[in-house]
Amino acid sequence: MAVAAPGHLNVNESPSWGSRSVDCFEKLEQIGEGTYGQVYMAKEKKTGEIVALKKIRMDNEREGFPITAIREIKILKKLHHENVIKLKEIVTSPGPEKDEQGRPEGNKYKGGIYMVFEYMDHDLTGLADRPGMRFSVPQIKCYMRQLLTGLHYCHINQVLHRDIKGSNLLIDNEGNLKLADFGLARSFSNDHNANLTNRVITLWYRPPELLLGATKYGPAVDMWSVGCIFAELLHGKPIFPGKDEPEQLNKIFELCGAPDEINWPGVSKIPWYNNFKPTRPMKRRLREVFRHFDRHALELLERMLTLDPSQRISAKDALDAEYFWADPLPCDPKSLPKYESSHEFQTKKKRQQQRQHEETAKRQKLQHPPQHPRLPPVQQSGQAHAQMRPGPNQLMHGSQPPVATGPPGHHYGKPRGPSGGAGRYPSSGNPGGGYNHPSRGGQGGSGGYNSGPYPPQGRAPPYGSSGMPGAGPRGGGGNNYGVGPSNYPQGGGGPYGGSGAGRGSNMMGGNRNQQYGWQQ
């Protein structure tokens, strides 16, 4: 074409995508399943590199190429950061020989389109949900800092993620955390007076301004979600597990107080404010409810869970918060333990097997270990409890990070732990019972999870002394390359998932909220 304005156009040179076939990869196993299609762990035949293949569902003929996929691809194309999932390429799979008209040329994309991502072993929710898992304070700081760094990068590149939640934060065995699933992301501009949809972000992590119907918003929406995750890490369970929008708002108001023109100037102008205005006065109780949190953590959380988005802390400022610069410092990701990866897709199957096993056991009147309550990981209050020692909990952190045994792969053949109800962040107060399941016995407990004190910090591990070999690393958490944990009914929204369907309408997940007690 004769018409390019030189110097401005077509500058984006990158290796051509879509030129390779999915046959370049050997599918190892399916690790996710959702409304968008399947996610596979695969090996590139030539290099042996392990990747995740996410198939783009193309079966809605009338819509053509899914807009969420176009958006995700175009956004990931321009983001290059160590804390943002890397989209390596797009590959195609040749379809049937003929197209509808029977033309022999056929459609070379008919068989499917796959997005090729770097492989990540876990997601934050799956990791946290492992039985026996407890994050240390330096570990939480390390994850939070990476989350904020990645998000800051997105925000300065004018991208809103709009679906920050644990299952979209992928973690590899080097301790790196990366933001994933940009299917709801979009670019924004600071001066734009744009109207955006408020039907984004999974309900539990959705900020009050969206719940109140705001259509003009910015990066602060993501920061609310970050606050929810931060609190969840410290608290041990989701803090706002609402089952619908009104209940969601109510839970927020109960903790953060009700919004008014004083704490949130302009709130009364937001479309649905009058519909949801609380009928009784509600005071902010955040400091009271979370009084056991460390002072710096609480301070930062306060600024993340600020009702008024314009006063909410930015990712940049959060990174400068005292929390990240006070003892104990965030640890080096590489010092984190390596956990065996596991994926929700498989763990579901395992859990089914497990349930059958349990029923059999019951019938045989065998005692089965009780399930753990879900308790927060490490409290900083210096209580006498073994697991409540002040300072970092050294279980997961130390100079001798336990290393998962076995091949880089997955012991999917082995039964996993107790089914769904197993607590996330189980307390070490009663660690003994739950994790003596026979099926865990041989699973490499020798890695140091339950052995003695970790030298560098010289503190005894809060659990492990009570005989739970290998429970930690082998837990039945789950990496969700696209499928929320089973107790996230919104299903399709996993990290590599890009489905719009069902998002934001998640129902309260069964065991997720059963111990939701702070607001009583």
Partner: protein, 238 residues
């Protein structure tokens, strides 16, 4: 050359009461630029064929295959201006989509320099690129099935073309405001330099000030025909 009489865009702007028949000027400008380009490329191809005939070759042989998917058997009967008008009229996409669609086509030929936009492929390129632009930009947009009806191709084919386009572009579908403005300026200049002057400020006067970014994201209109179904093209684009 542009059959300027068909398009009101170059006539003095009508009164608001006449808005019914008004087309955004971008359609006219784009028609002009594309028709000129296609005419030139068709000629080029003809010459090539002529030269190669002696050698037993054909002009097409010199072309890359990148745009093959967009080639029809013969040029459609509908002119470029009429085709653009049809797309605009039935899909109601924002005028910006035509500029962005043009950016896509331009990127395409720059990425694949051995490809030419010619009369055999320009229609399919247009409907596909405008549709993708609308998907990226517009609050509400019609689905592929509707665009297929408007464009005179089958749903399946349009889906295939969409995919072709996305891959040929390496999914480079982002058009920044700066690039958008550059193209507006460029299009305007093309017209000015080629004797259709008189209406500067294409960008300000005739584009919606609206949004380059997909500013609003409301649910996609599922076939909700603001207008009735488009009458089928007399002759499908083939």
């Amino acid at each position: 050359m542009l059959a300027a009489g068909d398009c009101t865009g170059l006539e003095p702007r009508p009164e608001p009461s006449q808005v019914e028949g008004t087309l955004p000027r971008v359609l006219t400008v784009l028609s002009f630029v594309l028709e000129r380009l296609v005419a030139r490329n068709d000629r080029l191809l003809e010459n090539l064929s002529g030269q190669l005939n002696g050698l037993g070759g054909h002009g097409w042989a010199m072309l890359g295959k990148s745009l093959n998917g967009f080639h029809g058997v013969r040029p459609p009967n509908i002119s470029i201006p009429k085709y653009l008008e049809r797309i605009y009229k039935y899909t109601g996409c924002s005028p910006s989509c035509f500029v962005v669609g043009y950016v896509y086509i331009d990127r395409l030929v720059h990425k694949h320099p051995d490809s030419l936009v010619v009369s055999l492929n320009v229609h399919r390129l247009l409907v596909t690129s405008v549709m993708v632009a609308s998907k990226m930009l517009d609050d509400e947009h019609y689905n592929n099935a509707f665009y297929a009806k408007v464009g005179g191709v089958s749903n399946a084919e349009l889906n295939r073309l969409e995919m072709e386009l996305l891959f040929l572009l390496d999914f480079g579908v982002v058009v920044s405001s700066r690039v958008f403005e550059t193209y507006c300026f460029h299009l305007e200049r093309e017209v000015l330099l080629n004797g259709h002057g008189g209406h500067g400020e294409i960008e300000k006067a005739l584009f919606d000030p609206a949004p380059l970014d997909d500013v609003t994201e409301l649910p996609v209109v599922e076939d909700a025909p603001a207008t009735a179904d488009p009458p089928s093209l007399d002759q499908a684009v083939d």
